[in-house]
Each structure stands twice: as C-alpha cells, then as structure tokens.
C-alpha cells in the first residue's frame, strides 16, 4: 500500500520536469524541421510553400556554410588545444606546494565568471586595440609594429578571447582530478626510481584521461555555439572570416529573415552537437553505474 502510494507520488513529482523538458525538446525541434522544408521569408510573409530539401541543398552548398563550418572547426579545435594543454600545465603547477595557493586559484578561476560580452569588449578595446590597446603599447615598446588584431588575424583574436574564458574551466576540473590522485602511488613510483617525467607519463596522465575527455566534450558543446564574443567584436567579419555556424544561422534568420534556410542550418548544428553529445552521455552514464 505504502509503496504504491510512494510510487504514484514519485511519478507525480517527476512529471512537471519531464513534461516541460519534453515539450522544450520536441516542439521547437519539430518546428525547426517543419520550417526547414518551407520557402519562408519574414519579409515576404504569407508566401510560405513546401520546397522539400531545397533549403538544405541551398544551405549546404552555400559557400558561406563551408566557410563557417571551417571557422567553427578551427575555433573549437584551437580553443580545445590551448585550454587543455595550458590547463594541464596550470593544474600541475597549482598541485605543487605553492604559498598562497587559494589566492592564485581565485585569480585563475576569475575569467570564467565574467559575462561573455564583457570579456569580449575588454579584450577588443583595452587590450587588443591597434593604437591605444595595452598589447599595441607593449609591442611598440619592443620596437615592433603592433598587430591590428581584428583586421589582420580576426580568428586568432576570437580564439584568444574564448580560450581565456575557458582556460579556468579546464584548469579547475583537471586540478580537482589531480588532487584525487593517490599520493602513495606517486610516492611508490618515486621510490622505484621513476623520474618526474615518467611519473607524469605513466601515472598522472592516465589518471587524467577521463577528466580530459570530459573537459573536451563539455567545452565542445559550448564552443560549437560561441555567439556573443563574435557578435560584439567582429560581427562575423571581415567578410566571413569569423562567421561560425551559430553566427551564420543568426544572420540568416534575424538579419536576412530567411527562416527556411536558417532552420536547415539549425538542424545541421543540432546534428553536429549530437555527435559530441553521444560520447559525453555515454561517459557520464558509465559513471552513473559506479
């Protein structure tokens, strides 16, 4: 009797969350799929008609799509490489006996809490401005010509900003993982005469394999849709040089009002994210068993 009651109650308590998330997942996605098969432009409302896969053909063969796909992959790949490599180094450093470690930790974590629009604008103006930025002043005092970041190497500029935002995340997670590493194991290795390098290669790195995977997957999910940083700095330009898929879809939907092909693009983004999500969900699921 009591257990049945409990079961019914449990289900009732679960329903709002499950129902809402279900609607949240199904309705917009179904609409996106539906819009993607229509010729639908907001400037030309009322003339919607079914065009089958026309939008996908248009979106996928649009040179802007290939450019933005390439930009997306370059952005995600570079930021991952920078944050994971630097994150491992920083985590190893912070795992050493450091005086005032908690203060250093606070400084390292801080960028993660800065809202994207703030960090993008601070970097763009105060640091990367070609005339009055701090970096320009530093390069000039070495007698070199300052880099005009957002004109000459716009993608690199975005990569640096986004890496600065995500480095704390990688560091924090890898540091947490390092601190759970068994000290005795390391000591035993040292007693057996293992050098610092081989201790790192054979003990620390394998221990970090899973947290590194988690960092890569979670960062990828967020990095695939970097938006605000591009929105406030380059607006996707110059040309298409910093347009990623998220920004391309935004500009097709809310600047060119082409609902149909923006929806087709949205589905491409969903598929890309799902490939990553598939692996992440498996790793998390395995952890749930343990």
């Amino acid at each position: 009797m009591a257990t049945r009651q409990t079961q019914i109650l449990a289900r009732t308590l679960l329903t709002p969350a499950v129902g809402l998330l279900f609607v949240w997942m199904i309705v917009p996605l179904a609409l996106t799929i539906y819009f993607a098969t229509l010729h639908y432009n907001l400037l030309d409302a009322g003339s919607e008609q079914f065009v089958g896969f026309e939008n996908f053909r248009y979106f996928l063969t649009d040179p802007a799509f290939l450019a933005s796909l390439e930009n997306t992959l370059v952005l995600v790949g570079s930021v991952l490489l920078l944050t994971v490599v630097l994150g491992i180094l920083l985590a190893l450093l912070l795992d050493q006996p450091v005086i005032g470690r908690s203060i250093v930790r606070l400084m390292v974590i801080a960028p993660f809490f800065v809202m994207p629009t703030v960090s993008a604008l601070v970097w763009k103006n105060l640091l990367m401005h070609p005339v009055s930025g701090l970096l320009a002043w530093i390069t000039r005092s070495f007698g070199l010509t300052p880099i005009d970041w957002f004109n000459d190497v716009p993608m690199l500029a975005i990569i640096l900003i986004v890496s600065w935002q995500w480095l704390p995340f990688a560091t924090l997670i890898l540091l947490t993982a390092l601190q759970s590493l068994d000290e005795e194991q390391k000591e035993a290795a040292e007693m057996d005469g293992a050098g610092a390098l081989s201790t790192f290669t054979y003990i620390t790195l394998p221990h970090l394999a899973r947290p590194i995977t988690v960092v890569i997957l979670i960062e990828t999910i967020f990095l695939l849709t970097v938006f605000a940083e591009i929105f406030v700095t380059t607006g996707g330009g110059p040309g298409l040089q910093t347009t990623n898929i998220a920004f391309l879809i935004y500009s097709q939907a809310l600047i060119q009002y082409d609902v149909g092909s923006a929806s087709a693009g949205g589905l491409v983004a969903v598929v890309l994210a799902n490939i990553v999500a598939f692996f992440l969900v498996r790793i998390v699921g395995r952890n749930l068993e343990a």
């Binding site: 974590i109 960028p111 809310l254 923006a262």
Partner: protein, 276 residues
Amino acid sequence: MARIATRRQVAISTAAAWLAGFLIFFPILWMVLASFKTELEAFAIPPSFLFFHWTTENYATVQERSDYLHHALNSIIIAGGSTLIAMLIAVPAAWSMAFSPTKRTKDLLLWMLSTKMMPPVGVLVPIYLIWRDVGLLDSLSGLVFILCLGNLPIVVWMLFTYFKEIPRDILEAARMDGATIGRELVYVLTPMAVPGLASTMLLNLILAWNEAFWTLNLSTLNAAPLTVFIASYSSPEGLFWAKLSAASTLAIAPILVLGWFSQRQLVRGLTFGAVK
C-alpha cells in the same frame, strides 16, 4: 640537503604560480583600473598603471547616461526568477529520482542531460517566431521562461547527485517512526539538503546571469539585462573605455564574488558528476 631543495622548489613553484595567476587575472584588473581613470587617461599611450588621477565619476555617469540600474534590475529578475522556478520544478523531480529510483531513472537522467546538448541556435528560429507571435519578445517573463528551461537539466542533475548522498537509514528510521512523506520532506530531508540546494542555486544564478545567447537575441531594451547593456558599448562611435570599464566592473562584481564561493560545486555541476 633535501630540505634546501624542497624550499627552493616551493619558491620556484610559488613564483611561477603567482605569475601565471596574475597574467590570467590581469585583463580583469586592467578593466577595474580603467574604470577609475578619466576617458583621456584610459585611452592614453603610454598607459598609466597606478599613478593616475583616481576618479569615481564614471560610475556616476554610467547610471545617468544609460540607466544602469534598469538593466541590473532586469538581470536580477531574470537570473533570480529563472533560478527559483527551476528549483521549484527540479527539487521534486530530483527527490523522486534519488529516493524512489526505478529501472528507468538512469535513462531519464541521461535523456535530461541530452536536452542540454541541443545547441540553442538550432531552435532559435521557432523560439523567436513563437515569442514574436505571443508577444514575449523583449519581455522579462519570456527570458525567465527560456533560461529556466535551458538550465533545468543541470539543476536536476546537481540536486540528484546531492540527494543521493543523503543516507537512507535516516529516512527509514523516520518512516518507522510513522512520519508521512510530507513530514519526511520537511523535517528530515530539507535540513540535510540545504547545502546542496544552496550551491545548486548559486551555480544556476551564475549561469543565468552570464547567459548571452537568448538575452542578446530575445531582448532589446525593456527586458535587456546587463549582457545586452554591455553589448551596446560595442558600437564604434562610442569609444568610452572608462565608462565601459565601470559598467563592466559593476556587471561582473556580484557574480565574481558568488563564483569564488562556489568553485567546488562548479566542477560538480558542470561535469554532471563525472568529475568530483
């Protein structure tokens, strides 16, 4: 001998760590310094690091010129509102999954996680059109609703991992003593769950405060929170660095403080319990 080496090691790693920490923190520090300069000094080459004319006038101007408080209030309503509603929906769900798990609980959790994987840009078009048609564009309730849904999976997950750590024996003891489920929830579970509830709320507040996809796309003026307000400084005609810095400092200060308190929970919440 060994002791000297260790001391030297500590000195080296301390110096390296402080240098790295300082470099990473520097952009924020530089921004805070610029907020106390005059516009001319903020722009000046060579830059002055500490010996400039300190002024707080930017903070006053930001409010007068662009109604900072209006946007700050929007941020508070959006972040606070979406967090509270998400908690109201998530607490019962997480409680039910943690204490009356079924065969499907694991699948359900993973399915919830997978909804978080959907890139917002994939559903931007329908959400924008629905919001336009029901008049939710540039409205606070529209943003509260969407941020609440967006963060719901993380909230459920975090609460679930916290609830699972509450020992079962205590609940069984309470049941033996004849406590009803309602009483069990109020008198036994809640006090033990408070730390987990608090850190979940904290993380959710931070995420919602900094959210910059839906806020930028679905609000313009009336409902615009601080993310959108700061973005308005990106227009090329307004090179007001000192004021931008003052506005930015105000916008990130509260969340930076909250964030520093919640570092540990951050790891857990953002990795869905995969790294503890």
